[in-house]
C-alpha cells in the first residue's frame, strides 16, 4: 500500500505526448467513474436527502385537517412529536425498539466471540476443519425464507426435534423443547435469537478464519517455540493480528439493529418480535403515501442516534491495537 503503486505521477519526456496522455487519461477516469458516481449521487446522496425531507412532510388525501393541501405538506416536527408520543405512551413501540436493540447485543457479544474461538480452532486445523468450513458456509447461501422454514419445521411442537427426542425417550410424550418454540408468546424472542446465532455463526467463522489465514506462519512457529499455550496464542497473537476484521464485523453486527426484520417475520409468521426495520418495511410495502413521512422520521431518528455511535465505536476499536502490515 505505497504511493508508488499508482500511475498518477509518471513523467513523460516528450511534452507533446504528455499533453495528449493527460487528456486521454482524464477522459478515461471520467468515463470509468461516470456511472458509479452518478448512481451514488442519485441513490445515496439524493435519496438520503429526500428521506430527510420526507420526514418533515405528511401526505393528506381529501379528508384532511384545515389549512393543509391535498398531497404532500410540510408539517415541521409533527412526525417526530408523533413518534415521541408513541414512545412515551405506546408499549408496542417501546417493545419494537427493545427488540431491535437485542440484535446487536446478540451478534456482537454472543455470536462474534463464539465465532472467534471457533475460528481459532479451525485455524489450528482441528480434525476435519476443511470439511467443516464447507458445511458452516452452507446457511449463508440458502435464501433466508427457506432457512427459516427449515428451522421452523424442525423446532415446531410436532416437528423434527421434538418428535425425535420423544422417540429417543429423552422427552416424555407431549413434552417439547420449549425454549426453541417460535410459536409461544414468551419463547418466540429467545427462539429467534437462537436461530440468528445458529444461522450466523458459520459465516462469521469463515470470515474470521480467512483473516487468520493471513497471519504469517513464522509467528505461529515462534509462539510455539516460546511455549505459548492456545490461550496465550489466541489472545496475544491471533486476536490482535485479525483485529481489523473483527472491528469490521463488530460494526456490521451493530447495524443489525436497523436491518433485521426477516428473521422474526418469517419465523413467527408475522406474529412476534416487531423491529424498526420491519416497521419501515411494512410502511413501504403497504404503499400508503400517508405512512411514508412517519416511516422516514422513524428512520431519521434512528440514524441520528446510531450513526455517531457507530463512528465512535469504530474509532475506539481501531485504537485498540497498533496497525500491522504483513
Amino acid at each position: 500500500m505505497d504511493g508508488n503503486s499508482s500511475f498518477g505521477n509518471e513523467r513523460k519526456a516528450d511534452n507533446k505526448k504528455r499533453g495528449r496522455h493527460f487528456n486521454v487519461r482524464t477522459l478515461f477516469i471520467i468515463l470509468m467513474l461516470a456511472y458509479p458516481v452518478l448512481h451514488f449521487l442519485v441513490m445515496w446522496v439524493f435519496v438520503n436527502g429526500y428521506s430527510i425531507a420526507l420526514s418533515f412532510q405528511r401526505y393528506f388525501s381529501t379528508i384532511r385537517p384545515a389549512g393543509y393541501d391535498k398531497g404532500w405538506n410540510f408539517v415541521g416536527f409533527d412526525n417526530f412529536k408523533n413518534l415521541f408520543n408513541l414512545i412515551k405512551s405506546d408499549e408496542n413501540t417501546r417493545e419494537m425498539f427493545a427488540n431491535s436493540l437485542m440484535y446487536p447485543v446478540i451478534s456482537c457479544l454472543v455470536t462474534l466471540p463464539l465465532s472467534i474461538i471457533a475460528a481459532y480452532f479451525m485455524y489450528k486445523k482441528v480434525a476435519g476443519s476443511s470439511f467443516f468450513r464447507v458445511v458452516f458456509f452452507f446457511p449463508s447461501i440458502v435464501p433466508l425464507i427457506i432457512l427459516t422454514l427449515i428451522y421452523r419445521y424442525s423446532v415446531a411442537p410436532d416437528g423434527l426435534v421434538n418428535v425425535l427426542l420423544q422417540k429417543l425417550h429423552i422427552l416424555e410424550k407431549g413434552e417439547i423443547v420449549s425454549f426453541l418454540n417460535v410459536f409461544g408468546e414468551d419463547t418466540a424472542a429467545g427462539a429467534v435469537y437462537i436461530f440468528c446465532i445458529w444461522a450466523g455463526i458459520g459465516y462469521n467463522i469463515i470470515l474470521l478464519n480467512s483473516g487468520m489465514g493471513k497471519i504469517p506462519q513464522e509467528l505461529q512457529e515462534s509462539a510455539m517455540l516460546d511455549g505459548a499455550g492456545p490461550m496465550t496464542e489466541l489472545f496475544r497473537i491471533v486476536i490482535p493480528l485479525t483485529w481489523p476484521t473483527i472491528t469490521t464485523m463488530f460494526i456490521l453486527g451493530m447495524m443489525s439493529c436497523i436491518n433485521v426484520y426477516m428473521q422474526p417475520k418469517f419465523l413467527t409468521m408475522d406474529k412476534y418480535g416487531k423491529t424498526v426495520a420491519w416497521m419501515i418495511y411494512d410502511y413501504a410495502q403497504g404503499g400508503r403515501p400517508g405512512d411514508l413521512g412517519q416511516a422516514a422520521s422513524l428512520g431519521l431518528f434512528c440514524t441520528v442516534i446510531l450513526a455517531p455511535t457507530i463512528l465512535l465505536v469504530k474509532h475506539f476499536l481501531e485504537k485498540c491495537f497498533a496497525d500491522v502490515d504483513f
Binding site: F28, M43, G202, Y203, L292, K314
Partner: protein, 294 residues
C-alpha cells in the same frame, strides 16, 4: 519437521481439540440433518406426513413435486416455480454483471490513479458503507415511483436492475483491495508499447483480475438470487423465487400440504447447492473482510 512441531498437541490441549471437534460435529448435524429430513418428507403423501414425521417414506413418490410445479402463487396469475426461476435468473444475472462491472471500474480507478479528490471519494464510500442512513426505503419508493419505474412489469424490472447496479458497495471494497495490491508492471509495459488506458483496462487489467471478478460475481449472484426486500417492494408484478416462495408458503400451510412445501424447498435449493458445490472453494477463499479505514 516444521509441520509436526506445529500440530503436536499434548494433555489438556488435546482434550480441548477433541471437545471442539465434537461441538463442530454437532453443529454440522444441525445444518445437514434437517435438509435430509426435508428431502425425505418431500417424497411422502400428505396423509403420511402427519403420522410419520421423522421416518422414511413408506411409498415414496413424486406427487408432491408434480403439485409443486403446477402450483400458482396466489394473487399472481401464471407465477409458477418455473416462471419464478426465469425471473430470478433474469434479475440476478443481469444485476450481477452490471454491478460487478461498475464496481471493477470504480475500484480500479480509485486504487490506481492519484487524481484530485480520489482520497476523498474513497473516504465517502467507506463512510456510506459503515454508516447507512436508516429508513430510506420509503424515500426510495417514492423516488422510483416518480421516475416511472413502478408503472408496468418491464419498468419494474429495469428499476430493480438500476437499484442493483451500484458500483460502491461491498464488491467495491473487495476489488479495491485487490487492485491496490496488483503490480503495476504489466500496465507499465503495455503503456511503453503504446497502449492507452482504455486498452490497458480491457486487455490487461480485466483478464488479470479474472479470478477475483469471478469470485465477486458468484458471491454477488447468490446474494441477488436470495434477495427478498428489493424484489418484494419494487417487483410487484412478477415475483422472484424468494418472494414467491414466501407467498406460496402461506397457502400451502393453510392447506396443511407439507410434502408439497418440502418439495418446493428442495426445488429451490437444488440449483444453489449445485452452484455452491462447484464453486465452494472460490467462494470460501474470497469471503473475507479487512479493516475499513477511510
Amino acid at each position: 519437521m516444521k509441520k509436526e512441531m506445529i500440530y503436536r498437541r499434548t494433555g489438556w490441549t488435546k482434550a480441548l481439540f477433541v471437545i471442539v471437534f465434537i461441538i463442530f460435529a454437532v453443529l454440522t448435524v444441525t445444518y445437514l440433518y434437517p435438509l435430509i429430513w426435508v428431502l425425505m418428507n418431500s417424497f411422502k403423501q400428505q396423509s403420511e406426513y402427519i403420522n410419520n414425521i421423522t421416518g422414511f417414506p413408506k411409498n415414496p413418490g413424486f406427487t408432491a413435486y408434480a403439485e409443486a410445479f403446477a402450483e400458482e402463487v396466489s394473487g399472481h396469475k401464471g407465477a409458477t416455480l418455473m416462471s419464478m426461476f426465469g425471473m430470478t435468473i433474469a434479475v440476478a444475472t443481469v444485476g450481477t454483471i452490471i454491478t460487478v462491472l461498475t464496481s471493477s471500474q470504480a475500484a480500479y480507478i480509485l486504487a490506481k490513479f492519484n487524481f484530485r479528490g480520489a482520497k476523498f471519494m474513497y473516504a465517502v464510500v467507506i463512510f456510506a458503507y459503515v454508516c447507512p442512513i436508516v429508513g430510506t426505503l420509503p424515500a426510495q419508493m417514492q423516488f422510483m415511483k416518480t421516475l416511472g419505474f413502478m408503472k408496468n412489469s418491464f419498468a419494474e424490472y429495469v428499476g430493480v436492475i438500476f437499484l442493483y447496479s451500484g458500483g460502491f458497495g461491498f464488491n467495491f471494497i473487495l476489488l479495491h483491495a485487490y487492485y491496490k495490491n496488483l503490480s503495476k508492471s504489466y500496465a507499465e509495459a503495455a503503456y511503453i508499447d503504446g497502449a492507452n488506458d482504455f486498452q490497458i483496462y480491457t486487455h490487461i487489467i480485466l483478464p488479470l483480475s479474472k479470478g477475483s471478478l469471478v469470485a465477486v460475481f458468484i458471491i454477488q449472484f447468490i446474494g441477488l438470487w436470495n434477495d427478498y426486500t428489493t424484489p418484494a417492494i419494487f417487483l410487484k408484478d412478477a415475483p422472484t423465487l424468494a418472494v414467491g416462495v414466501s407467498l406460496m408458503t402461506k397457502t400451502l400451510e393453510n392447506n396443511s400440504n407439507f410434502p408439497e412445501l418440502f418439495a418446493v424447498m428442495v426445488i429451490v435449493l437444488l440449483p444453489i447447492i449445485l452452484i455452491f458445490s462447484v464453486f465452494s472453494k472460490t467462494i470460501i477463499e474470497n469471503t473475507t473482510v479487512g479493516g475499513l479505514k477511510g
